[in-house]
C-alpha cells in the first residue's frame, strides 16, 4: 500500500470531518463528528509512525464520548435547542468553513517548510483543523460548541507537535489538558442550564 496515498486520504477525511463539525446543528451529530476527528488525527499520527501519540488520541476519544454524551443527554432538547449555540445559517457556515479550510491549506506548505518531518498531508490536516477550530470559536460561545472548537484547534496543533516532539511526558500533559477542557466545558454547560433560583425548580 502506498503510505503517502493513505496519509493523503486520511488527511482529506480529517478536513471533511472538521468542516462537517462546523456545519451541523445537532449536538448529537456534532459529537459523532467530533469523535471522528480524534480517530482521524490518531490515524494520521499512527500512519506517520507515532503510535504512542495516536493511541493517546484514541484513548481521549474513548474518554470524551461518555463525558459529552452524558452532558448532551442531561441538557436535553428543551433546555438547549440544537442550533442555539451557532451563529449564521447552515449555508453561511459551510461557505465560511470551506473558505477557511482552503486558506488554512494554503498556509500548510510553509508549515511543512518550518517543521522538519512534517509531511504535506500532516501539514494540510493540521492547518485546516487549527483554522476551522478558530472559526468555530468565533461562531459560538455555547460551552459545548466551545469544547468542540478549542479541542479542534488543539488537535491541529498536536498533529504538528507530536511529530516534532514525540515525548511521552508532553503527550500525557496535552491529553490531560484535553480532559480538563472537556470537564470544565461540560460542567459550565450543565451549571449554566441549571435553574438559578430554587423557585424555578419543577414542583
Amino acid at each position: 500500500m502506498d503510505v503517502v496515498l493513505i496519509l493523503g486520504v486520511v488527511s482529506g477525511l480529517t478536513i471533511v470531518v472538521a468542516i462537517a463539525l462546523v456545519v451541523v446543528d445537532d449536538h448529537r451529530l456534532a459529537l459523532v463528528f467530533y469523535l471522528l476527528e480524534y480517530l482521524c488525527v490518531g490515524g494520521l499520527l499512527y500512519i506517520g509512525g507515532f503510535p504512542a501519540a495516536a493511541w493517546t488520541r484514541w484513548g481521549l476519544a474513548v474518554a470524551a464520548a461518555p463525558i459529552v454524551w452524558l452532558t448532551v443527554v442531561r441538557l436535553g432538547r428543551d433546555v438547549l435547542p440544537y442550533a442555539a449555540g451557532l451563529r449564521g445559517g447552515r449555508w453561511f457556515r459551510l461557505s465560511a468553513a470551506l473558505l477557511v479550510a482552503v486558506g488554512g491549506m494554503g498556509f500548510s506548505s510553509s508549515l511543512s517548510g518550518i517543521f522538519p518531518g512534517l509531511t504535506p498531508a500532516h501539514a494540510r490536516a493540521a492547518s485546516a483543523l487549527f483554522t476551522l477550530g478558530l472559526l468555530q470559536l468565533g461562531l459560538s460561545e455555547d460551552p459545548l460548541r466551545w469544547i468542540f472548537a478549542l479541542t479542534t484547534c488543539l488537535l491541529g496543533f498536536e498533529v504538528v507537535y507530536a511529530i516534532i516532539e514525540p515525548s511521552l511526558a508532553i503527550q500525557a500533559i496535552l491529553a490531560s489538558i484535553h480532559l480538563g477542557i472537556l470537564v470544565v466545558g461540560t460542567d459550565i454547560a450543565v451549571r449554566r442550564a441549571a435553574p438559578q433560583n430554587p423557585d424555578d425548580l419543577p414542583a
Binding site: 466551545w146 515525548s167 500525557a172 500533559i173 489538558i177 470544565v184 460542567d187 459550565i188 451549571r191 441549571a194
Partner: protein, 459 residues
C-alpha cells in the same frame, strides 16, 4: 525526601482538606492560606541536598525529581520565585473568608498555585506552558463560579491560554532545536511572533485582555483578584525566565522597543477604558491593565533594577487587589447590627476605594512607591512614558475618588462575632495599604528578592 514532590503533594493534600472543609469558609481559608504560607516559607528556607540532623536520624532533602525525562527542580535559581507565588497566594487565600468568595476558592486556589509553582520548577522551563494551561483550567472554573451569571470570562481565559500554550511550546522547540539567534533573522522573527502572542496572553496585554472585563461583570471580585494576581505573576516570571535564558533576547534593542510600545499602548488604553466605566469592578479591570502597562515600560529598559521593580509592583498589586476585592465584596451587605452604624458601613467602602487607589498607584498607598520609581526611572529618558504615567495616575485617582462611597446595604445572615471579625480584618487591610505606602522599606526589599535566582538578568 524530595523538595519539589513534597511541596506539590502537600499542596494537593492541603487543597483536598480545604475542599472537604468548604462548608466552613473560615476553616477552608485558614487551611489553604496558612498551608500556602508554610509552603512558601519551606521553599525559601529549606536546606537542599544537605543532611539535616533530626530526632529520627539524618534527613536529606533532594532538590530535583525526574519523571519521564522532565525534571522538577527547586534550587537557588527558582526558590525565591516559587516562594513569592506561594506567599502571594497565602496572602489572598487567608483573607478569602472575609470576602464571601466562591466556596471552593481556597481549595482550588491552592491547586492553581501548585500548578504555577510546578511551572516555575520544571526543567527545561519551556515546558511551563502546559502547566500554566492547567492552572488556567482551574482559574476558569473559579471565574465561572457555582451559579454562573456569565461563563464568558472563563471560556475566554481558557481559550487565550490554550493559544498561548501552543505558541510557547512551538517557541521552545524552535529555540532548542533550531539554534535561533539574532543573526538568524527569519527564524528569530518567527520565534518573536509566537513568543509575543504567548506572553501577551499571560501578561494580559490588549487585545488578549477581554476576559478581564467579562470577569469583572460576571465573577466574584475576590476570586477575580486571586486569579489575576497568580496568573499574571506567573506570566511575569516566564518572561523573565526567557530573558534570563537567551542572551540575544535580553540584548535585543528591537525587543526593548516592542515592549515599550506594548507598555505605552496598554497604559493609555487601560486608562481611557477605565475612565469610561461606571462600575467599580470594570474600572478595576482596566486600571489593572494600566498597571500592567507600567510594568511593561519598566521591563522595556532591560535593566536589573527595573526587573526587580516590576516584581515589586506585582507584589503591591496583590495587596491592592485583595483590599479592593475585600471591600467591594462587603460593600453591598450588612448585618442588622452594622445597619445601625454608619461608621461600620463606611469601612468596606473605604477598603474598596483605598485598594483601588493602590492599584492605580496613588500617593500614600502600597502601589505608589512602585509607580514613583517607574516614573523616576522612565521619566528621565522617555518623556512620553513619563507623561503617560503621571496622567494615568492623576486621572484614575480622581475617578476612584468620585466613586459613591455609600451603598444600599442588604441584610445577610451573619453572626455579630463574624461581622466584627470581618470589620477588623477590613480595617487591617486598609491600614496595610497605607502602611506599605508610607513605609515601602517594609516590603520592597523583600519583594525585589523574588528575582534573585535569575543570575543573567540580575548579577
Amino acid at each position: 525526601m524530595n523538595a519539589p514532590v513534597l511541596v506539590l503533594v502537600l499542596a494537593g493534600v492541603l487543597g483536598a482538606a480545604s475542599f472537604l472543609a468548604r462548608g466552613r469558609l473560615v476553616m477552608a481559608s485558614m487551611i489553604a492560606g496558612l498551608g500556602a504560607g508554610l509552603l512558601g516559607l519551606f521553599t525559601l528556607g529549606v536546606s537542599l541536598d544537605a543532611p539535616l540532623q533530626t530526632l529520627v536520624g539524618d534527613l536529606k532533602v533532594a532538590g530535583s525529581w525526574t519523571f519521564l525525562g522532565r525534571t522538577l527542580a527547586l534550587d537557588d535559581g527558582n526558590r525565591a520565585s516559587v516562594s513569592f507565588i506561594f506567599l502571594a497566594s497565602a496572602f489572598l487565600l487567608t483573607g478569602a473568608w472575609a470576602a464571601r468568595p466562591v466556596r471552593y476558592l481556597p481549595s482550588f486556589g491552592l491547586f492553581m498555585t501548585a500548578c504555577v509553582a510546578a511551572s516555575l520548577m520544571i526543567r527545561p522551563f519551556l515546558y511551563a506552558a502546559p502547566l500554566l494551561e492547567i492552572a488556567a483550567i482551574v482559574g476558569c472554573l473559579l471565574l465561572v463560579g457555582e451559579r454562573p451569571v456569565s461563563h464568558r470570562a472563563g471560556i475566554r481565559l481558557l481559550t487565550f491560554y490554550t493559544l498561548a500554550m501552543m505558541g510557547l511550546l512551538l517557541t521552545g522547540w524552535m529555540l532548542e532545536s533550531s539554534g535561533v539567534t539574532s543573526a538568524t533573522t527569519t527564524e528569530a522573527d518567527r520565534v518573536f511572533l509566537l513568543l509575543a502572542v504567548g506572553l501577551a496572553v499571560l501578561l494580559i496585554v490588549p487585545p488578549f485582555h477581554s476576559w478581564l472585563p467579562a470577569a469583572a461583570e460576571g465573577s466574584d471580585p475576590y476570586t477575580l483578584a486571586f486569579v489575576v494576581v497568580i496568573l499574571q505573576s506567573s506570566g511575569l516570571f516566564l518572561l523573565l525566565g526567557f530573558l534570563d535564558s537567551y542572551a540575544w533576547l535580553r540584548e535585543s534593542i528591537e525587543i526593548s522597543q516592542r515592549l515599550r510600545w506594548a507598555g505605552l499602548v496598554t497604559l493609555a488604553l487601560g486608562t481611557l477604558w477605565a475612565v469610561g466605566q461606571p462600575k467599580g469592578a470594570r474600572f478595576m479591570a482596566y486600571a489593572l491593565l494600566a498597571d500592567v502597562g507600567v510594568t511593561l515600560l519598566l521591563l522595556s529598559r532591560l535593566q536589573a533594577a527595573d526587573y526587580q521593580m516590576a516584581l515589586a509592583m506585582a507584589g503591591s498589586r496583590a495587596v491592592g487587589m485583595a483590599v479592593w476585592a475585600l471591600g467591594s465584596a462587603n460593600e453591598g451587605v450588612a448585618t442588622e447590627e452594622s445597619r445601625a452604624h454608619a461608621g461600620s458601613r463606611a469601612i468596606p467602602a473605604l477598603a474598596a476605594s483605598l485598594g483601588a487607589l493602590s492599584v492605580v498607584g496613588a500617593p500614600l498607598t502600597a502601589g505608589f512607591p512602585g509607580r514613583w520609581a517607574a516614573l523616576v526611572r522612565l521619566g528621565r529618558s522617555d518623556a512620553w512614558a513619563g507623561a503617560l504615567i503621571v496622567s494615568s495616575l492623576v486621572v484614575l485617582s480622581v475617578s476612584v475618588l468620585r466613586w459613591n462611597l455609600g451603598s444600599d446595604a442588604q441584610a445577610v445572615a451573619d453572626s455579630a462575632l463574624t461581622a466584627r471579625a470581618r470589620r477588623t480584618f477590613l480595617l487591617g487591610g486598609v491600614l496595610l495599604v497605607v502602611a506599605l505606602g508610607l513605609f515601602p522599606q517594609l516590603t520592597y526589599p523583600w519583594l525585589v528578592q523574588a528575582a534573585r535566582g535569575l543570575e543573567n538578568l540580575i548579577p
